[in-house]
């Protein structure tokens, strides 16, 4: 039954090797231990321990259904395409662990029409604008002067600073904002009154790259760990 024609021997051996390699690749890619090789880059600070499925949930339907749905979509037989493999990751995935009531700049607040010009420069409605994943960093935005997009008219009554906010804004020292104020307001941090006592820009940039937290360890809110996240889903 399995008699192979001598003329086809090479074809069969080639096919067999190909099949074996394919199975091995499939097994390797689906192993938990292989996630570093599958991932497009190292996880960001604080995310080192979380597994892929925390963000990359399986898309609806099986592979065959997804292929069929997308082929149907291609030929115009259905209105929407279907996610293939895994669902798209959105800011809602981030908020499942990082949402908190005291966020000074929650993403949703920038959906208001008056921010439409600002979000053309910096899309603050989306977490990944500043926190792009798989970069082994904490904050991935290249410049730290983003406050200028919304706070040009800032006026502080009884300004306690040695160089006032007004002066800093007039001289476009937008890099200095982050030296006192963390964007999400998640630290209990005593803000200095003298510019020379503020956190140096280099220290801030190192923190963005994943270094020590210059605002201190007294945080108001901590993101959920993976087991806590699972628990929160079960309690929904």
């Amino acid at each position: 039954m399995f008699k192979i024609s001598p003329l086809r021997k090479r074809q069969v051996i080639g096919g067999g090797i190909g099949l074996l390699i394919g199975v091995l690749i499939f097994v390797f890619l689906t192993l938990d231990a292989s996630k570093d090789y599958v991932s497009i880059g190292p996880m960001n600070s604080g995310h080192e321990e979380i597994s892929c499925v925390t963000c990359h949930a399986d898309a609806e339907g099986n592979l065959s259904q997804q292929i069929q749905s997308n082929l149907s979509y291609m030929v115009g037989a259905r209105a929407h395409s279907a996610d293939f493999g895994t669902k798209d990751v959105t800011s809602n995935n981030c908020l499942e662990c990082h949402d908190r009531p005291n966020d000074r700049h929650p993403t949703y607040s920038f959906s208001e029409p008056r921010f439409k010009d600002a979000i053309k420069n910096i899309d603050a409605t989306s977490c990944i604008t500043c926190h792009s994943e798989h970069h082994g960093a904490r904050v991935t935005i290249s410049k730290v002067n983003y406050c200028y997009n919304c706070h040009q008219d800032l006026e502080v009554e009884e300004d306690p600073l040695d160089i006032s906010h007004k002066q800093l804004i007039a001289s476009e020292e937008w890099d200095t904002c982050i030296q006192c104020h963390d964007f999400h307001g998640n630290h209990t941090y005593e803000v200095p009154h003298k510019l020379k006592d503020t956190i140096p820009l280099k220290t801030i940039k190192d923190y963005f790259k994943g270094g020590a937290d210059p605002f201190g360890s007294n945080k108001k809110y901590y993101g959920l760990s993976e087991p806590e996240w699972v628990k929160s889903l079960l309690n929904k």
């Binding site: 259905r78 949402d99 009531p101 959906s111 208001e112 006026e155």
Partner: protein, 280 residues
Amino acid sequence: MKAETTILEKRLGLYILALMASLVILNSCGGVPEKTTTVSNGEENVFSVEEVLEMVAKENDITRTLYTKAIVGQGKKQGMKFDEDWRKDEVEAGPLPALFLRGVATSIRKGPVPLGLYLGSDFPINNANKFEGKQAELFEQIKIDQKPQFFYEEEQKLHTAMFADMASAKACVTCHNDHKQTAKSDWKLGDVMGATTWQYPKDSLSYKATVDVLNAYAKGTVDIYVAYLDEISKFKESEKPMIGDKWPVEGNYLPTPEVFLDSVRKLSSYSTMKTLVASK
């Protein structure tokens, strides 16, 4: 020559058979269920987005006025504190009305109903909440006639409505006039202090979707009020009000979330029901 043609025909037949088999296997499970827009009975769109946003804005007016007058205004007379930094650990206070609204808006955002709610002004305490562009333009008209303004925000593809936010209680006026960072210190009762902006993606809503919008707002009210009661439970130095069925007007009391929501519903039900059951 004929033999070659037969082999080719056989191969072609095999390919077609394999293709057919693949298609059968591929289609055997059916596709991923698509979220259809087919309307079932009772799910027809019966309200325009303007009508729905007017309904929910009306509920918001009643809720905010109740909170401002009966909780903040009367609560202050009992020694209760309300602060913009109410969430800070070292501050033992409740949310000011504007922050109460922000809390409602946050809760709505977390839910499945695609409703946006924002508060702004031309003289806000925080300059970042100052109206710009189209909103600033329409707010000028709102200040004149206090009528709602509707527009379609092209870039966001959202139906947008703005409603006057009035100085309806003495507490609104005094707090804003006395605030350290106020840009205007001559507010008086009845002034248009700002406007709420509401957004929704569709131009018309079914009865169910309308009730979902109203429920999302009511849930938001409960969520922020519960958050306030949670803060009170953590008070270390301030006296904690008794939580039950009494209101601050009777002493150091606060209503439970159920009692608070019940009062909102009693005050708003007539107007909302009238619109909901209007011969559609």
